[in-house]
Subunit: 187 residues, 2 copies
DNA sequence: ACCTGAACACCGTTCAAGT
DNA sequence: ACCTGAACACCGTTCAAGT
């Protein structure tokens, strides 16, 4: 497994943390997935906190890239907004997982500070993208669009969490539809 | 600690689980809070799953009682809805904790089935109350009011989670305000 | 550079024994 | 009835040591 053990560890840690959180991450199990021993992970990541930081950072970097792709492919802001909930749907499609950062938000009390920082950056990245898209038509002011962006982010994360608690992806879709019907998201 | 060790265990488990989840519950620590030894908890709860069930059940029973009080004190449905977000604010006020069932929803994969059931009942209780209140004016149909009730529940839980991730209760208030401004909650 | 064995501290659980 | 000490099997983590 030497070619890129570090990347393999990051990938395994990401999917595990989406299902069991930062606390659910365990080095022996992670190592087994990668084909090395638990102790070997410490060569790549000096501590669990370092692994947590690396995983959460990679997570928001990937999210930022996906959002940029959506922006690039959709000049129309309304169509960008229509596609946003699909980014959170992906985790549910992957065996009822949730956003890594939602899980870590719940684990806030036990999270190393450096990991907390990355979790917040994930939210910042999403809110900044939403805010930019919302203010594009020039209808909503910058300040209002940021507040709305935060509300959309929080509501979508909540819908994902509720859907997970019932292992029901149709519930997620219904919640998003209702956000649209209520006016939180553009129809 | 004999007068009511069982109740003391339940209370300690509740606050701990609101901060660290079901997985964060450990018998030795819980016992220390109550003034007994870890092994003694097994006299009151045969297994961790049994404790989890008892805590989650008590949690929704208490929530149901609080909601009934609100209904009783406020004949006006609009004023009931105005007060709903305060029930979730309480946990944040208590050292940045969150809803026990939100945390357990995140922990879905590792939860005993009987605990999952109680977590879902918590959501059911909240959704049923919201749905009833929403349909009172007769403006919204029963089916529509239930869908909206679910959306409000999910969005409020999401707001609580996001506020926790920044230990920022003012953010919670701002998110709720924005839900109102957007039309998800009545202004 | 990359990995491992062995050890440590801790956890859920059990159970025989105490009061 | 209610509680405890001691033990068991297991797990996350660390680190000195291997190649």
């Amino acid at each position: 497994m030497s070619p890129n053990a570090r990347e393999a560890i990051l990938a395994a840690a990401k999917t595990t943390a989406q299902a069991r959180g930062y606390n659910g991450l365990n080095f022996r199990e992670l190592a087994a997935e990668v084909g090395i021993k638990g102790a070997s992970i410490y060569y790549h990541f000096p501590s669990k906190a370092d692994l947590g930081v690396a995983v959460a950072r990679r997570y928001w970097e990937d999210a930022a890239a996906v959002l940029e792709e959506i922006s690039a492919a959709n000049p129309d802001p309304a169509s960008c907004l229509r596609q946003f909930p699909a980014t959170f749907r992906k985790a549910l499609e992957n065996d009822n997982r949730i956003c890594l950062c939602s899980f870590m938000a719940a684990e806030y009390d036990e999270l190393p500070d450096a990991v907390k920082q990355e979790v917040q950056t994930f939210a910042d990245v999403n809110v900044a993208w939403l805010s930019k898209v919302l203010s594009t038509p020039g209808i909503i002011g910058a300040k209002e669009s940021e507040a709305r962006a935060r509300a959309i982010f929080a509501a979508v994360a909540g819908a994902q969490l509720m859907a997970r608690s019932r292992a029901d992806i149709a519930l997620y879709d219904a919640l998003i539809d209702n956000y649209r019907a209520a006016g939180l998201l553009p129809a």
